[in-house]
């Protein structure tokens, strides 16, 4: 019966000293809102990275030749020979470069990849219309091309590009296929590129060496053994150069991201805990002041019949309302801030609703824990002493 009345009284008392209450709640507000924003940003970024890594597939290895010069690249044949490693299903060597693509009067600068037909399965990248490149295209150095959906849109608008001709640095290629739309991944846009046969690309780009190879293993379990064999071969080949290559394994990357995220979450929880603790001490402080200021009020209430529990409840409710109000304001700022960051900054944010709930409940808990001592002090005041205070 008295709960509603007590909450009204508590709100009244909080409202009657607005500045003091706001300053008291500040610790909780900052704690709650920063937890929500940090976790939302962290969660958004992690899920973005995870999604991209999963898009790469977990039974893949990517070799990047990073060293410069002829001795630090693989020939096309050497790259294909990597397919002999036990556990390897397919090898997709890539030669890449940039060209100016031209159709009629439209010009775009676009990246070109010289590929083999195995690229389709290894990268899980198919055409939406036309056909993929064939072995015969590689064999005879055909001037045929697959075009990414964005580039096709730039050059051909809404017309179908298949069957049309495109000039790459002045050399004509026939477009035989339009690639499906994939969006961006870690390596940049998948839709802003042109794929041509690797043998054609060696001439077009005047590049002999293969600098990027994607290897599909037979299963995710063989990734580790293939990787160590692969590193053995590359180490022997590039024994005279340091940092000549990297072998990238998406599963390993995923693990790294996950463990980094976990560490980060722990750190965030720690920071949040400390700021909420500070907020709680602030609340305890103000509640002690409040009990002292209102000693006579407590005396009067007891004289006219308030029991210990009535006084305890009154101050507990005030403390919990204070911290809960701080929590609500913190949630508002946290959710609002996360939303703004998601919309007006390049960060990817996914609002952590579970954290919203947890941090709000935590703010209530703080009110209970830190209100206990002052409320108990108030409840135990003896009426004759409380009434003598002026």
């Amino acid at each position: 019966m008295k709960l509603f009345q007590s909450m009204r009284m508590a709100l009244k008392s909080i409202y009657s000293s607005k500045v003091r209450s706001l300053l008291t709640m500040l610790g909780i507000i900052i704690g709650v809102s920063s937890v929500i924003i940090l976790v939302s940003v962290g969660q958004g970024t992690t899920s973005q990275i995870t999604e991209q890594l999963n898009g790469l597939g977990t039974n893949q290895l990517t070799v990047n030749i990073t060293g410069r010069g002829a001795t630090t690249s693989l020939t096309y044949d050497e790259a294909l020979a990597l397919g002999d490693i036990p556990g390897v299903k397919d090898v997709a060597p890539v030669i890449s470069g940039n060209v100016t693509a031209k159709h009629n009067t439209d010009n775009v600068s676009v990246s070109v990849e010289g590929i083999t037909p195995s690229y389709e399965d290894v990268k899980d990248f198919h055409v939406q219309s036309g056909r993929f490149l064939l072995d015969i295209d590689t064999q005879y150095r055909q001037k045929v091309a697959l075009i990414g959906s964005s580039t096709a849109n730039d050059l051909f608008g809404t017309d179908s590009p298949v069957g049309q001709t495109v000039q790459l640095n002045g050399i004509s290629y026939k477009i035989v296929g339009l690639l499906e739309t994939k969006g961006s991944s870690l390596g940049g846009s998948n839709d802003d590129k042109i794929l041509i046969p690797i043998s054609t690309a060696e001439r077009q780009l005047q590049s002999k060496g293969v600098r990027s190879i994607t290897i599909a293993t037979t299963s995710a379990d063989t990734v580790a053994t293939v990787k160590s064999r692969l590193e053995g071969i590359l180490a022997a080949k590039f024994s005279n150069a340091t940092n000549a290559y990297t072998v990238f394994d998406s599963q390993q990357m995923l693990d790294t991201v996950n463990s980094t995220t976990n560490t980060l979450s722990m750190a965030l929880a720690g920071i949040a805990g400390i700021s909420l603790l500070v907020g709680g001490i602030g609340i305890m402080n103000i509640m002690i002041v409040s009990v002292n200021e209102r000693t006579r009020e407590i005396g009067v209430r007891k004289a006219i019949g308030a029991k210990k529990l009535d006084i305890l409840a009154q101050f507990m409710i005030e403390s919990v309302v204070l911290s809960g109000l701080g929590g609500i304001i913190g949630v508002g700022i946290g959710v609002g801030g996360s939303w703004l960051l998601g919309h007006y900054s390049p960060l990817s944010v996914s609002i952590a609703w579970n954290m919203v709930l947890v941090s709000f409940l935590f703010s209530l808990l703080i009110g209970v824990v830190f209100g206990m001592m002052p409320a108990n002090k108030a409840a135990r005041l003896r009426p004759i002493h409380a009434l003598r205070v002026d």
């Binding site: 019966m1 008295k2 009345q5 009244k12 008392s13 009657s16 006579r296 009020e297 005396g299 009067v300 209430r301 007891k302 004289a303 006219i304 019949g305 308030a306 029991k307 210990k308 529990l309 009535d310 003896r382 009426p383 004759i384 009434l387």
Partner: protein, 231 residues
């Protein structure tokens, strides 16, 4: 609860405080009884122990020794919560300094004892409004204490004391903070309450005020030195 006969029976009550390591006895072997419907003034010079006695009679404190029967019940054996319940139901306090809660309106102040009695919102609002109307403040229900004069504040306090119809009204120097004219008004109101059947215990150091009661108990240095009934 009966409505006639003995209401209060104090026997051999002694009480003291320890101040600066020294034990000082303030009330010394007091014995007296008060019946239902009496109007008793307890008079004595300042520091004689009147307020200490009021704390005992009002169940705000319990005496070191002796016995205090209120309506047949031994008060000295009761727990704090029991004492709170007895204060709530049986005693209306009127203090020298009014002791209204500054953040509450007049009607909310008057309601407060009824809140602790567990009376429903609607019912206690009705009782509080009736009590305020009786003391002539029907048009000041929603004023805060700071918006009222001293006399009006004391009338709110009287309304609060009687809203729950407790049998005893305990007034400790109720006119002490008021000018002569408003003091007379307040005394008139207290006399009227006695005529309506409330038992009044009035504590004062002022003989002129004490003379308005039907019986005067005089305290000096913690001793009962006179117990005089008017004809």
């Amino acid at each position: 609860m009966s409505t006639s006969g003995t209401l209060i029976e104090v026997s051999d009550m002694s009480h003291g405080y320890t101040m600066a390591g020294e034990r000082m006895t303030i009330l010394k072997n007091l014995s007296f009884t008060i019946d239902f419907g009496e109007f008793v003034a307890i008079i004595g010079p300042s520091g004689s122990g009147k307020s200490t006695l009021m704390n005992m009679l009002g169940c705000l404190d319990v005496s070191d020794t002796g016995s205090y029967l209120l309506d047949g019940q031994e008060i000295r054996k009761l727990s704090d919560n029991k004492l709170a319940a007895i204060r709530n139901e049986k005693i209306g306090f009127i203090f020298q300094s009014f002791n209204l809660l500054p953040k509450l309106s007049a009607v909310e102040n008057v309601e407060l004892p009824l809140v602790y009695r567990g009376i429903s919102h609607r019912q206690r609002r009705q009782l509080a409004e009736d009590a305020l109307t009786k003391v002539g403040l029907g048009d000041r229900m929603h004023h805060r204490p700071a918006e009222l004069s001293g006399g009006q504040q004391q009338r709110v306090a009287i309304a609060r004391a009687m809203a729950g119809s407790p049998p005893i009204l305990l007034a400790d120097e109720p006119t002490g903070a008021l000018d002569t004219r408003t003091g007379k008004e307040v005394m008139g109101m207290i006399r009227q309450l006695n005529e309506q059947g409330h038992t009044i215990i009035l504590i004062t150091h002022d003989l002129e005020i004490a003379e308005q009661a039907n019986r005067i108990i005089r305290i000096q240095d913690g001793n009962l030195v006179e117990d005089r009934r008017k004809a």
